[in-house]
């Protein structure tokens, strides 16, 4: 059908899977045509619109433009949730409100952040990064000198290895996508390829690891394979176009795309080339995974393929029947997202979701699945695949390999284990209320 012929018409939706999933091709034409088609199938409220009048904000001079703009006061609920609101002498973290955001870029003020000993107040003029150890010439860099390099800009997600850990609970916790999955965010990062700096220092061919260390109060350190450093690692100096947020590593951090968040060392001050890993506390204990039976995975690194539905999800109750765009984010540390399937009947039948391009390597990709809710109970699930062929495991499959807790978790803030990546399911009941379920 030509665009002109389509104009003003309402094609019949093509249902492709149970409980009202519609072929994503419906999204390819005009969005209005899709909405029109679905409105004919089920009128939303039946109430006609009211006659229009002038609103008060249009009848007075507005606020003068500020230097640094902040969100509308009507958006005050869109904030990160805190793990340590009383400021105790321990780690503190804040989670991204996925269920209140859209697109793929996480605003800097809402990027997740975990700090094991507070956020240091670093003077960028005094901060230094040294590269030394098994190199020909140890070198010292500053924010100014690094900023003079030809910088590269890439879109990448960052995810704490402990993200989604509440799903290790043997019973589903009734918490939002923010509480479940809020320790992952996605930004456009700008920095210097680490390979350039290592070449300038003349790294020894026998050096297999870099000990990356921060300038924070515990001088957090992780061992990074030199192989990864030469693959795609960056020393990052900008986040979404501005200097890094203090909680995200100001003034410079390591970025090892697709690898567990803690390895992306913040406040980076030192890289030492060595022939063996340091077995630092965070790699030997915290960010390693205890398996059923008592063995442990060490140096897992990779954040494996994951997706979750953000809209609708727990916290958004459906008020009306009719059209909804199910959407969410998918990402993989092993490369680009190749496919996302969505089910509205708890996994009995599936339809392929549309991916919003461009689809970046190791980055959030938003998927959309048109859906018509008929008012009956439904269970919404998403499942992603990456270009390396890895499929996101269903929960039962994941738990069979990795285990779960023997008692239900009582707080979403604990980390019973690491590297959780199964599917997430949201059950919609006949009243439109949404609960977290395991299918």
């Amino acid at each position: 059908m030509t665009d002109l012929a389509r104009r003003g018409r309402a094609p019949t939706p093509e249902f492709i899977a149970g409980n009202g999933l519609i072929n994503r091709r419906a999204l390819l034409g005009s969005g209005l045509a899709v909405a029109g088609a679905l409105a004919t199938g089920a009128t939303a409220t039946g109430a006609a619109a009211e006659p229009l009048k002038e609103d008060p904000w249009g009848l007075e001079f507005g606020q003068i433009t500020p230097a640094l703009q902040t969100p509308s006061p009507f958006e005050k609920a869109v904030v990160r949730t805190l793990s340590n609101p009383e400021g105790e002498l321990r780690n503190s973290h804040a989670r991204t409100p996925h269920h209140l955001l859209n697109g793929t870029v996480t605003p800097n003020s809402l990027h997740f952040s975990i700090n094991h000993c507070g956020i240091p107040n670093i003077d960028p003029a005094q901060h230094k990064l040294v590269i030394h150890g098994m190199v020909r010439q140890p070198l010292e860099f500053t924010l100014d000198t690094l900023s003079r390099y030809p910088l590269v800009t890439r879109m990448h997600f960052l995810e704490c290895a402990g993200n989604s850990a509440p799903m290790f609970s043997n019973e589903p916790m009734q918490i939002t996508a923010q509480a479940l999955h809020g320790l992952a965010s996605n930004s456009e990062w700008t920095g210097v390829p680490l390979s350039v700096l290592l070449d300038e220092a003349g790294i020894d061919a026998r050096a297999k690891w870099l000990i990356a260390e921060g300038a924070d109060a515990q001088h957090l350190d992780r061992s990074i394979p030199v192989k990864k450093a030469y693959d795609d690692a960056l020393v990052v100096v900008y986040q979404n176009g501005e200097r890094l947020m203090p909680g995200n590593g100001y003034p410079m951090r390591l970025l090892v795309p697709g690898y567990q968040g803690n390895m992306n060392v913040k406040f980076l001050r030192r890289l030492k080339a060595v022939d063996q890993p340091a077995m630092s506390m965070f790699e030997t204990k915290t960010y390693s995974q205890l398996l059923p039976g008592g063995k442990t995975w060490r140096f897992h690194f990779l954040m494996e393929v994951k997706s979750f539905i953000t809209h609708p999800s727990l916290g958004h109750n459906l008020k009306d029947r009719g059209f909804y765009a199910i959407s969410g984010v998918a990402y993989s540390g092993a490369g680009r997202i190749s496919k996302v399937m969505v089910s509205a009947d708890g996994g009995k039948s599936w339809g392929e979701a549309a991916l919003q391009g461009p689809v970046h390597d190791k980055a959030f990709t938003r998927f959309i699945m048109p859906w018509r809710w008929d008012g009956q109970p439904a269970v919404l699930v998403s499942r992603a695949w990456d270009e390396a062929g890895n499929a996101q495991p269903m929960r039962a499959e994941f738990v069979a390999a990795r285990g779960q807790t023997s008692k239900p978790l009582t707080s979403p803030l604990g980390f019973p284990n690491q590297h959780y990546n199964s599917t997430t399911s949201w059950a919609v009941d006949g009243k439109g209320e949404i609960k977290h379920v395991y299918v």
Binding site: R90, N91, L139, A217, Q218, S280, L290, W297
Partner: protein, 179 residues
């Protein structure tokens, strides 16, 4: 000598193109000597590389523990004194479940990790304030309380890497090709 061999190996491995690219590189790093960055060079490797001179015993560590650690980690390292300060002594078997608390006794693969973390991060409100002798003594105290060394064993650069941790052989590499 080893530095010369290393440089030669890099040149051979990367070939002439890489050497040319490096000459084109911005080269904005300021040369610094290893001795000038010694204060920052604190990472200890599991074979004991970079352990500093010094020594300490469990008895010396016990006194320091009371002054420096007990307020958060509780008496005898049993934990629970302060939120976030986990137990330093004991630990259930790792077969208890995938959410078993990981401790020095049931989990750590290398005793050097204990020394390294105390020296870089503890006490939380005054990191880097302990002397190397004090760090050796506290490490000795914690290892002895876990019955991983004897009550009168001296910990130093030679003895610490030789402490055999019970869980050392229970680690698996899921992605060996990424190393």
């Amino acid at each position: 000598m080893s530095m010369f061999k290393g440089t030669a190996a890099v040149a051979l491995a990367l070939g002439l193109a890489a050497v040319a690219a490096q000459a084109d590189s911005p080269n904005l790093g300021k040369p610094i000597s290893e001795s000038d960055l010694k204060t920052w060079d604190i990472a200890i490797l599991p074979d004991g590389t970079n352990l500093p001179p010094g020594r300490g015993t469990p008895a010396e560590g016990a006194k320091l523990y009371e002054q420096q650690c007990q307020a958060c980690h509780a008496e005898g390292g049993k934990g629970g004194g302060s939120p976030g300060a986990g137990p330093l002594v004991g630990g259930p078997p790792l077969t208890d479940g995938i959410d078993t608390v990981k401790t020095i006794q049931n989990y750590y693969a290398y005793a050097t990790t204990v020394f390294d973390y105390i020296r870089r991060a503890m006490p939380f409100q005054a990191p880097r304030s302990l002397s190397d002798d004090e760090v050796y003594a506290l490490t000795a105290y914690i290892l002895a309380a876990n019955k991983l060394i004897g009550e009168s064993d001296v910990m130093d650069a030679k003895t610490l890497p030789q402490v055999k941790m019970p869980n050392r052989d229970n680690f698996i590499l899921p992605y060996p090709d990424r190393i």
